[in-house]
């Protein structure tokens, strides 16, 4: 087996697994803060909800930390040529995450979990606020790092090929960073809203903890609807226009747009057939892609076949599916949350058992959508590690052999099986104990 493949697979596997946890904690931090604000205004049920979700948050946070440390390490261990070339730039944003976000989170999480009696209600609210700020800052620094790899700015290249930092503020004002950050954070809010709604629906269907469960649902559905809409427009729209502008090859590949066309259609479903350069069994909205990207029905969109093959992403099929799974699920989320919000507004959501079933069973799908979204970003960046500057094939550690890398990949897989089992077991125990 080629070493590069194993290094790529290990990073993809560990980062995909890792991101199950932060997408829940980042969104949940916002929801806990909202609930705590309600509690501070005298809503006692909301305070039960805060204590319950803080427990889930604490457990998930620890999982996020222990699966996150390997991500930082792997830049050096598996991607040493990339680390050496780009560390002078992205090392800053990664170190800032540790210094500004992690210390804040780890300090105030303890107070959120155990400090309510000692701090009083106001102090506890501050702890919830700071945990929220910490987790969202953490997301910001990571997205700035990724945005730089998608669209490098604020650098200069020294004569030895090392990329140097020219401007720190450029990393944060990167045109790619803010849209990507908003899109990612809205995605995490969707995940947390669906999880909160699912647990609320679960309790209501069983007739347990009814007042608290109804509070879960009302907060989760309102926030979830807002977030689902924002994910599509404006954040998703901004993101896709950025891809179109700066990574046109990726755009053509992820949309399944093979040939240059005036008035290009938007592909809803279809299987890419790379040998024939076409989609099998397509369902297409005519002219829609041109309209969405240019606001003109007749605008020209360049197709994949007009780009040099050496610039094509190396797994176009998976990129195409990842993007369509994300966009498709995102649309369904708007539907589910709109319907739930309608019944919530009428005051009958807790009686609609069919809808509660849907909300409960929807739990895994936002995780899939968020993962598919990141797969779109990362597969779409290929064949580049740093877009336009360094190819993925030039970034891995040449001194770490395939055999050694495979050893650790297998080790991570085994370790994550144990992690999953334990997380699942403890989380179900917390849910079984209930919020009261």
């Amino acid at each position: 087996m080629e070493a590069l493949t194993i290094h790529r697979f290990q990073f993809a596997f560990t980062v995909t697994y890792h991101y199950i946890f932060p997408q829940l904690t980042m969104g949940l931090a916002l929801l806990i803060f909202i609930l705590k604000t309600m509690a501070l205004r005298g809503d006692r049920v909301a305070n039960h909800a805060v204590r319950f979700w803080a427990k889930i948050f604490g457990l998930t946070f620890v999982m996020g930390v222990i699966t996150g440390i390997p991500m930082e390490f792997q830049f050096g261990t598996n991607w040493s040529r990339f680390a050496e070339a780009a560390g002078g730039v992205i090392g800053h944003t990664l170190a800032m995450e540790g210094v500004f976000a992690f210390f804040l989170e780890s300090s105030f999480l303890y107070l959120l979990l155990f400090g309510e009696d000692r701090l009083g209600q106001r102090g506890h609210w501050v702890a919830a606020l700071l945990v929220f700020v910490g987790t969202w800052l953490s997301g910001f620094f990571i997205v700035c790092t990724n945005a730089w790899m998608q669209h490098p700015v604020g650098y200069e290249i020294a004569h030895d090929g090392i990329i140097r930092l020219a401007s720190l503020s450029a990393l944060f004002t990167n045109p790619w960073a803010v849209p990507q950050y908003l899109h990612v954070m809205v995605g995490t809010t969707i995940t947390a809203s669906f999880v909160m709604a699912a647990i609320g629906a679960f309790y209501l269907l069983r007739g347990e903890h009814v007042p608290t469960a109804r509070r879960f649902l009302s907060v989760a559905v309102v926030v979830g609807l807002i977030a689902s809409v924002l994910a599509a427009f404006p954040t998703g729209d901004m993101q896709s226009k950025l891809v179109y502008k700066h990574q046109p090859v990726t755009f053509a590949a992820m949309e399944g747009h093979f040939h240059t066309e005036d008035g290009a259609g938007l592909v809803l479903i279809g299987q890419p057939n790379m040998a024939e350069m076409r989609l099998d069994n397509p369902i297409i909205l005519p002219r829609m892609l041109s309209f969405l990207t240019h606001q003109r029905w007749e605008a020209r969109i360049v197709g994949l076949s007009d780009y040099d093959r050496s610039l094509w992403p190396d797994n176009i099929e998976l990129l195409y599916y990842a993007y369509h799974v994300m966009a498709g699920l995102g649309t369904i989320f708007i539907g589910i949350m709109s319907l739930s919000a309608l019944f919530l507004w009428r005051g009958t959501l807790h009686e609609r058992r069919w809808l509660l079933w849907i909300l409960m069973l929807a739990l895994p799908f936002p995780f899939i959508a968020n993962t598919a979204g990141w797969m779109t970003a990362e597969l779409g960046r290929q064949p580049w590690l740093i877009h336009g500057l360094m190819r993925t094939a030039d970034g891995h550690s040449i001194n770490v052999s395939g055999g050694n890398a495979l050893f650790t990949l297998i080790g991570f897989m085994g370790m994550y099986v144990i992690l999953s089992a334990l997380y699942f077991f403890i989380a179900t125990r917390i849910i079984a104990q209930g919020p009261e």
Partner: protein, 346 residues
Amino acid sequence: METLWFCLLAWMLATYVVLDGFDFGVGILHLFVAKTEAERRQVIRSIGPVWDGNEVWLIAAGGTMFFAFPKLLAVAFSGFYLALMMVLWLLMIRALGIEARHYLTDPLWARFWDVAFAAASVLLGVCLGAALGNIVRGVPFKEDGTFFEPLWTDFRVGQETGILDWYTVLVAMTAVLALAHHGALWLKARTDEAVEERAGRLAGRLWPLVVMLSIATTIATVVVQPNVRESLAARPWGVVFVGVAVTGLIGAHVLRQRGRDFPAFLASGAYLYGMVALAAVGIYPYVLPGRDPALGLTVHAAATSKTGLVLGVYWWIPGILLACGYTAYVYWTMPAKLSLRDAANH
């Protein structure tokens, strides 16, 4: 500027060793100091609020190394590949042990996670010590500026050395015992009743071993890495750290005997700071010496551009001051003593 960042990085790593060191130490001693279920809970809860914050120092130090010395991160992390991956897995097992202990009440699984937590703590102590040993001894650089160390070869300190040889094993043993001693002092200061008493007794037994091994390690270091002598000769003020380490170690013993438990713990922290600082002074001007001195990675070669280092100062200093503030606040809000009765009632 490069030297400033070298000092800051060494300071961060030393802080990490002192902080996460005591909770590793607590883990190492866990099975010996706590016999009943309530005592085990008491021990774990004495580090419960702080262990993950302590680990953040490792992450932050890694990040700092990444932007200030990207080449060091690239060369060292890939060269110590297997050992670092094992450190990651051990950190996971330890964290799982602490979490599982918090939520699982079934005695069978509690027992399992107790052993897993203790074993992972011992091995992490070994890894920290071996890492320090490798950095001081120097690594087998190749002509292209990279290296890859297997876990072990023939345990001799030669050109084809592995991560474990007789020297790094010696440093690792010193580290495990020093951290156990450090952890015992933490427990003595932070718990009561049987655990406090056992921790005190263990600290008393561990202390002479730590003294002997520290002396042995120091002698071995001078033999294995001649650069240390030259470095100290060139920078005689480095001897201050010998003073810090020796005073800390003796202070830890004397203060404990006088019943001043928390100062004794701080003295042990000073000893660890002194040892790490000595290592840093000893390897300078290298950040990673080579077995072949000509191939070693120097501070200047490893550092990023001047601009990057200067920009780093602007955000790093305020950031780390804030972090120290949070850390201090958490320790300040923790109960001074975690009583057995509270742990039993949980």
